[in-house]
Subunit: 93 residues, 2 copies
């Protein structure tokens, strides 16, 4: 089934789904700064726009553009800066 999720007062919204036994979501982030926490490990892929990300344990920020991916371990948190509204895919690993 599809599930609409809202985070940060609706500034980030996503549609959660399951496909061939894999859980994933597609979502959109409005411009802003966010801190996300992970339960399980996940892979984020930028679909349209760009995300500037500070991964757990990293000092530097890195910008990911459409088509780029990064992975986040489970039970961790990461920071995201969004300067343009950006669509993403999140695969739960």
């Amino acid at each position: 089934m599809l599930k609409v999720n809202e985070y940060f007062d609706g500034q980030v919204q996503s549609l959660g789904f399951e496909s061939q036994g894999e859980r994933a979501s597609v979502g959109v982030m409005m411009p802003g700064e966010y801190r996300f926490s992970t339960a399980a490990p996940e892979r984020m892929t930028v679909v349209k726009g760009a995300l500037t990300v500070k991964l757990p344990g990293h000092i530097d920020w890195e910008t990911y553009h459409a088509g780029d991916s990064f992975e986040v371990p489970g039970d961790a948190s990461f920071h995201v800066e969004v300067s343009q509204t950006t669509a993403y895919l999140c695969d739960y690993l």
Copy 2:
């Protein structure tokens, strides 16, 4: 702003957004057969899964996988068969 859209009794849902003056949406289609109508021309990109599509004026169906795109003219309709839950990006051209 973000806008949640539901089609076909919620079997297809999307999040509409605008980024740098371009309108787009990301969405998810549950398995099924759908006929979509376009107002303006659009480009569909498969984000995860696969869409089997009969474009307007075409006789044959073609399957598009993650990363593949196809364009649909405005004021037209196209048919989609979805055998696994599939995420897509729609850019309004």
